[in-house]
């Protein structure tokens, strides 16, 4: 490395010099326009070199953001074409806004999309409502004294998270299909004569779907809280105990309040993912009977685009998701502004 004493000094004192310059600029503002001009020039030069290096530092991340968040938006162009995979985009016909017209042209279509959005939001909100369960699970699990039992429970509840939805459906099918275990047991016990329809029904679909995802995600979701509990300052517990707090009081006044920041962060993240409730789960559970209530946005896009072979139409519907996400963001921002007097974006 060659050294340039003068410039090095300037760079090293960069922070302070800038601050000083700012102050000077502020005081000089009224005094002399010429002096101000000079100092601004100086500042721009120093700042320019600095921000160039800074820019290089963030460049890789900007590229990543561009490649994974903005470049995919290029795919929206498919909604303006009549895309046929065999012909490629260049060989497909340009159709303008025809797909969007088709989307809004019939009331039934609009009603269908409305139902899909309703399903999406309902299942998402049920998911958010059940997000307190892992918290309580972790708190209670932490109170278990026998380590072997605690570890066994934790392992057993974490395990389902690693089972794919396809296998979960296999389990569900062998248990709850019309010739599954549950129906057979009930039938043999003489409780029913006709098999109960657990899977091929449109009753309580949102609820059962939520229960399946709770079953799958409970143990996994508790891990982060268990880690947070381990990080709580033990002196808090000690002083509470000295003050005569019992076990439940410790949980209520120490553990849970200490976990709240973690919970709120996770809650915020799940709100951000309101429309992204995935599709694997609903894809494997869907059938002719529950399709109307199980079809969430991602699954709907899949059904139209891939199963229905209308990729362009599916793109048009997929864009809806972005529009709604932006609308949600603006709403939350507005609420934040009203409540906290400070906006998020």
């Amino acid at each position: 490395m060659r050294e340039y004493p003068a410039s090095r000094g300037a760079a090293g004192d960069d922070m302070t010099s800038q601050l000083v310059l700012q102050e000077v600029a502020a005081t000089e503002l009224e005094e002399s326009p010429a002096a101000e001009k000079a100092s601004r020039k100086q500042r721009r030069q120093a700042g320019g070199r600095r921000s160039y290096t800074m820019f290089l530092c963030i460049l890789p991340f900007m590229v990543l953001v561009f490649v994974f968040s903005y470049f995919p938006l290029y795919g929206w162009i498919y909604s303006l074409f009549d895309y046929r995979a065999a012909l490629g985009l260049s060989g497909s016909e340009f159709v303008g806004l025809r797909w969007f017209e088709l989307l809004v042209s019939s009331p039934t279509q609009v009603a269908q999309i409305g139902q899909v959005l309703l399903n999406t939001l309902a299942i998402s909100f049920l998911g958010i409502a059940t997000s307190v369960l892992p918290l309580f699970f972790a708190v209670f699990l932490n109170e278990v004294r026998a380590p072997w039992f605690r570890n066994a429970v934790q392992t057993l509840t974490t395990l389902p998270n690693f089972i794919s939805w396809v296998l979960v459906y296999m389990i569900a099918f062998s248990l709850f299909s019309s010739s599954g275990l549950v129906n057979n047991v009930l039938n043999d016990a003489g409780l029913i004569t006709q098999p109960l329809k657990f899977l091929d029904t449109d009753q309580n679909v949102w609820l059962t779907m939520t229960l399946w995802s709770v079953w799958k995600g409970l143990g996994w979701g508790a891990i982060i809280y268990l880690a947070a509990i381990a990080g709580i300052d033990q002196s808090l517990y000690e002083s509470a105990k000295i003050d005569g707090a019992g076990r439940f009081q410790l949980m209520r006044y120490i553990t849970i309040p200490q976990l709240m920041p973690t919970y709120l962060v996770l809650l915020l993240l799940s709100v951000a993912n309101l429309l992204n409730n995935g599709m694997e789960q609903y894809f494997v559970f869907q059938n002719a009977f529950n399709k109307e209530t199980i079809q969430v946005l991602d699954l709907y896009v899949y059904n139209i685009g891939i199963t229905g072979n209308s990729l362009s139409m599916a793109t048009a519907i997929g864009m809806l998701k972005s529009v709604i996400s932006v609308a949600l963001l603006l709403t939350v921002n507005w609420i934040a502004k009203r409540v906290r007097g400070q906006s998020i974006v």
Binding site: L56, D82, R84, A85, A86, L87, G88, G91, E93, V95, R98, W99, L102, S106, P107, T108, Q109, A111, Q112, F173, S177, S178, S179, Q194, P195, L199, D200, N287, A288, F289, K291, E292, N303, I304, I306, T307, G308, N309, S310, L311, S312, M313
Partner: protein, 582 residues
């Protein structure tokens, strides 16, 4: 420090460009025409067979795999959308990737056209002069490739049978097949029309409430994996009356009647009502909603089902030697008013075509393989399965002393008892499992084999007919006034409606119609299932009204208009072909 950064930047930019341009392929190389194929191939290859009708995924095993290996030194790796499920998912992903497969079995019309247009299939014209077996069907090859700049596809299901004659041998494609032994126990009650089947099925189910394996017997077992523009099992009874669908249009094969699928009085609605009533009588397997064809097929094999829409379901699953000797089995029970639809031999071939992928590993060898499928040896082998051709000569059949083809010991075991092990020098393994997984015939098994003077289909051989005289068939024949086969009975009683084989190709949907169609179809399927399992008649009617309204809201009428037009067009073409070739 700065230089390496630049290098990295340039390198990554180059990599990006490389990535993007790698999608753009080079121009296809020019090939010189050949006049004959080589005798043997030294290098072993595995070719990907994208087969739109195969029900098997993976490497072809058994005797057929062995035969192809010996002849062409290649293995067939089947890629089957039917197995993968999810409609056109597999097709779309492979097409987007630019390589559908080395050997392609695809529907003519829209799909073939877009593959040709998109450059995904190879022009086989250079190989065509060497394809001497295909050349016999040159008219059909020319007809299929009309308007295309080259020879991109080869027709299937060819034959020299007249288009106004049934394409099958002894059985129609559809028909009400019942468990004859139980029907006999009831004293052969007369059936005037479709709905009369229900009380009979009810009594039959009461006669045999449990199958030999201890499972509960249900007269009707439906399945879901073939559903498309409606639930597949509800489209079958229409065929008993000569109706055939064209999208949402339903047309009588002689052009005398056109219906819409969702009309109140359509054959489809009648069938839904039929199943709904059956369900109220407890005749429908509750697993119908979740099971696929394979599960249902094994239930028929186990005797858990009493009704079949097709001979190739009931008879091929249940009528094995042990059952038929005991007088048990599926036979057609005629409805007085039926007029069974059957298809005439297609003049220009069936719906599927063979094509060679543009990125095929060794297109010449694949062309040789396709050509072989049209040769007598290839036809015996490729169609060698239960109810079709007999398999390779010398393995399952031989010419007897009088020059007649006759099943060998092994052949009898396979085609009468169900299956047998193939000797090791033929590749070993079960004959049935080792059969060709192509699931498409180059030439109809009903076509005449020049060597024997009889059809390839062993079921029409006199030596076979003599073999399969069983208590079951004897009883059926006696009841049917001595008709030797089902086809003979139907023809003699004027209960057969042959749809002239005009090889009508359904035109490509405009993208708007296709999108509307794909939106309406799941609605029809969804509601149809609900209607079958509706608790009450009122619920059934409500669901029906909802279905009609929702389908209409999604553009059903627009699609129907197109479909009706096509159904009429198809009929016109049939009349033309009947006049020309009939």
């Amino acid at each position: 420090m700065k230089l390496p950064k630049k290098v990295v930047a340039v390198a990554s930019a180059l990599a990006m460009v490389g990535l993007l341009t790698s999608c753009i392929g080079g121009a296809p190389e020019e090939r010189a025409a050949i006049s004959e194929f080589p005798e043997k191939w030294d290098e072993e290859i595995t070719v990907d067979v994208f087969d739109g009708v195969a029900n098997y995924m993976g490497i072809q095993e058994g005797w057929f795999g062995d035969l192809v290996k010996k002849k062409f030194n290649m293995k067939l790796n089947f890629i089957a959308p039917n197995v993968a499920g999810g409609g056109d998912t597999l097709y779309n992903t492979r097409v987007s990737a630019g390589n559908l497969g080395d050997l392609i079995v695809i529907d003519k019309g829209m799909k073939l056209d877009e593959l040709v247009q998109g450059g995904l299939v190879l022009d086989s014209a250079p190989f065509y002069p060497a394809m001497t077996n295909v050349e016999k069907f040159d008219t059909a090859v020319t007809h299929l490739n009309e308007g295309k700049d080259g020879i991109f596809a080869f027709p299937t299901m060819m034959s020299s049978i007249k288009p106004t004659e049934p394409d099958g041998g002894v059985d129609p494609s559809f028909g009400p097949y019942l468990r004859w032994d139980l029907y006999k126990q009831l004293g052969y009650p007369e059936l005037n029309t479709l709905e009369d089947v229900l009380p009979v099925l009810k009594q039959m189910q009461d006669l045999e409430p449990t199958a030999p394996n201890g499972a509960k017997v249900y007269a009707l077992s439906l399945f879901k994996d073939w559903d498309s523009n409606g639930i597949v099992t509800a489209k079958q009874p229409a065929a008993f009356y000569g109706y055939e669908d064209m999208g949402f249009a339903v047309a009588k094969a002689d052009g005398s009647d056109y219906q819409a699928l969702l009309d109140d009085d359509s054959e489809y609605m009648r069938a839904l009502k039929f199943y709904h009533e059956a369900n109220k009588l407890g005749l429908i397997d509750p697993e119908s909603t979740t099971q696929n064809y394979d599960t249902m097929f094994s239930k028929v094999q186990n005797g858990q089902v009493l009704f079949s829409w097709w001979p190739w379901l009931g008879q091929s699953a249940y009528n094995n030697d042990a059952n038929t000797q005991a007088g048990k089995g599926f036979e057609i029970v005629p409805l007085k008013d039926m007029n069974v639809l059957t298809f005439g031999a297609e003049v220009y071939g069936g719906a599927q075509t063979f094509a060679i992928g543009s990125k095929a590993k060794d297109p010449e060898r694949i062309a040789a393989f396709i050509d072989w499928l049209y040769s007598p040896e290839g036809r015996h082998a490729n169609d060698g399965k239960v109810m079709a051709a007999a398999g390779p000569k010398g393995l399952t059949w031989e010419l007897d002393d009088s020059g007649q083809p006759a099943l060998t010991e092994l052949g009898r075991k396979i085609f009468i008892e169900g299956d047998a092990e193939v000797p090791a020098e033929w590749g070993g393994g079960s004959f049935v499992d080792g059969g060709s997984q192509m699931n498409v015939s180059a030439v109809l098994p009903a076509d005449i084999d020049k060597e024997t003077g009889l059809p390839f289909s062993y079921r029409t051989w006199p030596t076979y007919q003599a073999l399969v005289e069983t208590p079951l068939s004897a009883d059926w024949k006696a009841k049917m006034g001595g008709a030797p086969t089902t086809m003979d009975y139907l023809r003699d009683n004027d209960q057969l409606l042959v749809a002239t084989g005009a090889s009508y190709t359904t035109p490509t949907d405009s993208s708007e119609i296709q999108t509307l169609r794909k939106q309406v179809e799941p609605i029809v399927v969804q509601y149809s299932w609900k209607m079958v399992f509706a608790g009450t008649d009122a619920e059934f009617d409500q669901l029906k009204a909802d279905m009609q309204e929702e389908a209409k809201g999604l553009g059903y009428d627009k699609v129907l208009e197109v479909d009706l037009e096509r159904a009429k067009e198809r009929n016109e073409e049939r009349e033309k072909v009947a006049k020309e070739f009939g």
